[in-house]
């Protein structure tokens, strides 16, 4: 199989529109949390979220007009606009603009979403109920389908290679990058734009995730303290919106065209819990097997891993189970050299975009030799020799970074990235 490297990055996050601004603010310990705006929360248990900061585009705000025609914006839910923005940034960053037919058919796209156009489906259901089927927009379906994030990116950039999408809840972004890397490794494509996008901060999304008791509800008056992975007072995740995309290509090709190489995708592992629709299996067996598979594929030992970007959503059950799984991954070996943080403490849980955004943070941790912090980790609920990077980012050597994602339905995915060799 061919070696696959990351040569372009793009991001829309609750901290900023853009990779570098998001990363700087993450390292500085800033949080994207605040009160929910845009819809009524008076009867919702959770009244906080991590919105994408909107504006005219200055100061790294997100201005949709910079990324998509206003005519097209009206036809789609926000996750598609975020995906287009992140994919466009990533292609620009990689310096890759396929122009010839040959270049176009070699370049594919694989962007997923956890829930797709939840907001538009909810609004259209009300229109159907109140005004009847003649008022349902001809763009209702095409603006809500999960694979239309890939569809729009493909059309706008002329990408005629594999046109694919994944939807594995909160593991989506990780599966998308892992699967796209496989397509390149096996020779199905030369370049892939891969990632995830989500816009689930709407009334039905918050109501639904609150109903299954996944969201934080104790910090409505202190939103920036609500996402607190591993802390004893954590009580659920904080929803975030956004998208992350990477450009992947074979190592030899990146070298030949003189592209900057951020990192190599050396490991990818997957597993299923076969346990419960929403709860993680208590022993951490599924998470452990996904990490073991990724580490094995990378051809390294667990002690070689310098940094883990945890799934760490700040739910009472999940954080400790993941930590247990990491301890089991190390077995009898000493895990004290490992740093493991949850950047969801700063950006919230981006569901289907989480794995993609977090893989980008791993890539930047490798580039800058620094690990981002776990905010609000005042009193860890468990004792561990692992450095959970409380409060402040920390300079350290990072050659291998591992990124975990676990989703509803018991779907687990793990990537291992390596500094360019």
């Amino acid at each position: 199989m061919r070696r696959v490297v990351i040569t372009g990055l793009g991001m829309v996050s609750p901290l900023a529109c853009g990779v570098e601004a998001s990363w700087e603010r993450l390292l500085a310990g800033r949080s994207g949390a605040g009160p929910i705006h845009g819809f009524d929360t008076s009867d919702l248990a959770c009244k906080i979220a991590m919105h994408v900061p909107r504006g005219d585009g200055s100061n790294a705000t997100f201005n949709p007009d910079q990324w998509m025609d206003t005519k097209d914006q009206r036809k789609v839910d926000d996750y598609i606009i975020y995906a287009v923005a992140a994919a466009t940034q990533a292609l620009d960053d990689a310096g890759w603009k396929p122009r010839t037919h040959e270049e176009q058919i070699q370049t594919g796209v694989l962007i997923g979403s956890g829930v797709g156009g939840l907001g538009g489906i909810s609004e259209t259901a009300v229109i159907l109920h109140e005004k009847g089927p003649r008022r349902v927009s001809p763009f209702f379906i095409s603006g809500r389908l999960i694979n239309l994030a890939s569809g729009y990116v493909s059309i706008m950039h002329g990408l005629k290679g594999p046109n694919h999408a994944v939807s594995t809840a909160c593991s989506t972004g990780t599966h998308a990058i892992g699967d796209a890397a496989r397509l390149i490794a096996l020779g199905d494509a030369e370049v892939m734009v891969a990632g995830g996008a989500e816009s689930a901060i709407n009334r039905i999304g918050i109501a639904g995730f609150a109903a299954c008791r996944a969201l934080s509800t104790n910090f409505n008056d202190r939103p920036k303290q609500a996402s607190r992975p591993y802390d004893k007072d954590r009580d659920g995740f904080v929803m975030g919106d956004g998208a992350g995309c990477v450009v992947l290509e074979p190592y030899e090709r990146a070298r030949a065209r003189g592209a900057k190489i951020y990192a190599e995708v050396v490991g990818y592992g997957m597993s299923g819990d076969a346990f419960h629709i929403t709860a993680p299996e208590g022993s951490g067996d599924g998470a452990l097997r996904a990490m073991q598979a990724a580490v094995k594929r990378a051809g390294i030992t667990p002690q070689d891993v310098d940094y883990v970007n945890a799934h760490g959503t700040s739910t009472p059950l999940g954080d400790e189970i993941e930590l247990t799984a990491v301890h089991k991954l190390f077995g009898n070996a000493d895990p004290s050299g490992l740093s493991m943080s949850s950047t969801k403490s700063a950006i919230g849980h981006l569901l289907g975009a989480a794995g993609a955004v977090e893989a980008i943070f791993c890539t930047l941790a490798i580039r800058d030799q620094i690990v981002p912090p776990t905010l609000n980790l005042d009193h860890p609920s468990v004792e561990t020799p692992i450095d959970l990077v409380p409060h402040k980012s920390r300079k350290r050597e990072v050659e291998f970074a591992l990124s975990n994602s676990f989703g509803f339905g018991g779907t687990n995915a793990c990537l291992v990235l390596r500094a360019p060799q």
């Binding site: 025609d69 005519k71 009206r74 003649r134 008022r135 927009s137 001809p138 763009f139």
Partner: protein, 79 residues
């Protein structure tokens, strides 16, 4: 400009994302204003919503320019 014409042009500008000066009476939705067939379906829906009328499919098919829409809606709202 009549009230109907003004409201029609506003909808066209908003839905097709085009400049106001391009939205002339003889502008063809598909050939001049960049609409595709689904855009025209949505435009007709927007006209129905704005003017509280029903535009049957065969009538909708004959509305291909801005002027066609204005004339149809002038008549439909007058009766």
């Amino acid at each position: 400009m009549s009230d109907v014409a003004e409201r029609v042009k506003k909808i066209v500008i908003e839905h097709l994302g085009v400049d106001a000066d391009k939205v002339t009476d003889d502008a063809n939705f598909i050939e001049d204003l960049g609409a595709d067939s689904l855009d025209t379906v949505e435009l007709v829906m927007a006209f129905e919503e704005e003017f509280g009328v029903e535009i049957p499919d065969d009538a909708a098919e004959s509305i291909v320019t801005v002027g066609d829409a204005i004339r149809f809606l002038d008549k439909a709202t007058a009766s």
